[in-house]
């Protein structure tokens, strides 16, 4: 079932700021769909429009074939899990979960039964009569989910649901959310700025920037084939190169000239011609780093550089390697024999190699797509920027 929840040309402006600019997309029934982007990209505005807390200036929102655009929040079969949970402090956990059913006028028996079922789903039966002030963040999170789900919404909206939790708990809750989704099978719309969360839980992701959707796709599509430099930089780390095609070769490869960097071979999936400008993205884990020169292969790029910085992270090491004007970020996984080897160290000359197929090119967009190349203000790791 596709087109279960449809946003049709939705726009919303706050004063001077165009929070959402004519956004159109649709969400399938039963999927976990993430709206991912930096703060101010419009993801929360879309969510609030869907919940009914904001009215879009123009456009329509259609849920299961019904236009819900003008409906007040209490008349939508949509429930929200709020970022700060927004649990009612004057009510016990049981009463919090029962709030929706009581409002809807369910019978006492049915309410009690459903509340117990929900408490079981979130494994919090023994806490039912506690005050919400006496439970932990992760527990509050689960109550907020149960309080929303008990109303049997058609869509569950989750607004940065894990943002207030610490890392370990976040990872555990992510798995839990996934299993709750498997259990109830309703459509989840998940808003987050955390690419790890989005990648981990989503069936599909909409990467948002400056009020637009830049790309919609599965996590793998978004990561491996980013449509814009924004998507490439925001989801995961990457190295960018600006180049020009100098030669188109057989087997869909092309040679690029890059100012301040050796010529490179790249996979020409965009069918570019000589003299076309190219924006190339190379994920840090696609590189191989070694002390010995690797064997030359037809589709392998090999350059030499100097190690400037090293961060050992256990699962892998991050190297920053200077190659002419560029400072490449490289992730390298070690074998178990790391301790028995002489590791690469600072100021060492190393060989960097990668396969032409592992780079991904984004053609230079037309002027009207200009914003696709603009990076918003955000924490960008040093390695993605050429020096």
């Amino acid at each position: 079932m596709s087109d279960f929840l449809v946003f049709e040309g939705v726009s919303k402006r706050y004063g001077e700021t165009q929070a959402v600019d004519s956004v159109t997309f649709s969400i399938n029934r039963g999927e976990i769909f993430s709206l991912l982007g930096p703060s101010g990209c419009g993801k929360t505005t879309l969510l609030r429009c869907c919940a009914g807390f904001e009215d879009p200036d123009s456009g329509r929102i259609i849920l299961d074939g019904k236009d819900i655009t003008g409906l007040p929040p209490h008349r939508r079969k949509v429930n929200t899990v709020f970022q700060n949970y927004a649990l009612f402090p004057h009510l016990s956990i049981r009463e919090n979960i029962a709030f929706g059913p009581r409002t809807a006028g369910w019978t006492r028996g049915e309410t009690d039964k459903e509340v117990s079922r929900m408490l079981e789903l979130i494994q919090m039966e023994e806490y039912a009569d506690r005050k919400v002030t006496e439970i932990s963040g992760g527990q509050k999170q689960r109550i907020a989910i149960a309080r929303a789900l008990i109303n049997r919404p058609q869509v569950l909206l989750l607004d940065e649901p894990l943002a207030a939790l610490d890392l370990k708990l976040r990872q555990r809750m992510l798995v839990e959310l996934d299993s709750i989704h498997d259990e109830v099978g309703i459509t989840f719309v998940y808003v987050t700025h955390d690419q790890g969360e989005a990648m981990g839980i989503s069936d599909r992701i909409a990467a948002m920037n400056l009020g637009h959707i830049e790309q919609i796709g599965t996590p793998a599509e978004i990561y491996e084939a980013p449509r814009s430099s924004f998507v490439a930089a925001f989801i995961g780390d990457t190295n960018f190169f600006d180049g020009t095609v100098t030669e188109v070769m057989d087997g869909s490869y092309c040679r690029l000239r890059i100012d301040g960097f050796p010529d490179v071979l790249a996979w020409n999936d965009k069918g570019l011609q000589v003299n076309n400008a190219v924006h190339l993205s190379l994920r840090p884990e696609k590189f191989n780093i070694s002390r010995e020169q690797p064997d030359a292969l037809p589709n392998r790029n090999v350059v030499q550089g100097t190690v400037e910085d090293i961060i050992y992270l256990g699962s892998h090491t991050k190297y920053w390697v200077r190659v002419e004007d560029y400072r490449l970020g490289i992730h390298h996984q070690h074998s178990r024999y790391l301790l028995d080897t002489r590791p690469i160290t600072w100021n060492e000359k190393v060989w960097i190699s990668w396969f032409a197929d592992d780079s991904y090119m984004m053609e230079r967009y037309k002027p009207e797509d200009e914003n696709l190349l603009v990076l918003p203000d955000m924490e960008v790791e040093e390695e993605v920027l050429p020096v």
Partner: protein
Amino acid sequence: MTTAADKKNREWLITGPSLIWLLLFFVIPTLIVFAIAFKPSTPFGGIGAGWTLTTLFDLSNPNYPAIIWRTVWISLVSTIICLLLAVPCGYCIARARRRSRNILLMLVIVPFWTNFLIRIFAWKVLLHPEGLLKQALVFLHLCSPDATLLYNSAAVLLVIIYTYLPFAILPIYAAAEKFDYSLIEASRDLGATRFRSFTHVFLPGISRGVWTAALMVFIPALGAYVIPDIVGGPAGEMIGNKIAQRTFVDRNLPHASALAALLTLAVMIPLMITLVRNRLPETDHRKKGKRIVE
């Protein structure tokens, strides 16, 4: 490193001065008033020697039940009306933008710049048969020319509400300002109408402010003396007037003390209820928590 005992000592040191103040100027005088109620009176307004219960029997004066009843209902009704007015006011002020919020708060406080007595006399002028308000109402055919607005219980009620409304608005505003309005969104999201969100989420959320406001109106209203004296007339007398009358006209201090003691007890009862109520949630859930453990 501070031990619990150190902390306790420091707490006593900090609260000590105010406790002494309360003891000297509140507890002891109140006890004296209670004591005088059990003393005989002398014909010249003094306090006689020995102890007696006659004053307490004097309280069965047939005029009193009507006056006490009037005092209670005027206080209750004025409290309820003040709350009905103060909750929307406090909400609006709390939700206003910072600039307009300060202006609105100023408007609530401005009446305090004028002396209390002068403001009540102003009401007397307004409600007077020849007064502005009366004339305006007659002009608009909202009341007959013969109706009296002054010297009755309604006038007392009106002026009490006018006087104590700011005291009700301020605590409710303070509570409404701290209220987390995302809870309203949550309740709307869960299917509640605006009205239900207001009654089931907002009101419980600001309940402490509402209780404080209720006390701030109810207690002074019970003890009102100047207001019924100026705008009430004989038909609007309250217990405060009787105490004044016993003190200044009859010069019967024990009798006045007995009435005052009665009033003090009457004030303490709602105060105690509120205190217990406000502490209740804590003890309540502790009990429930224990039950779970068992």
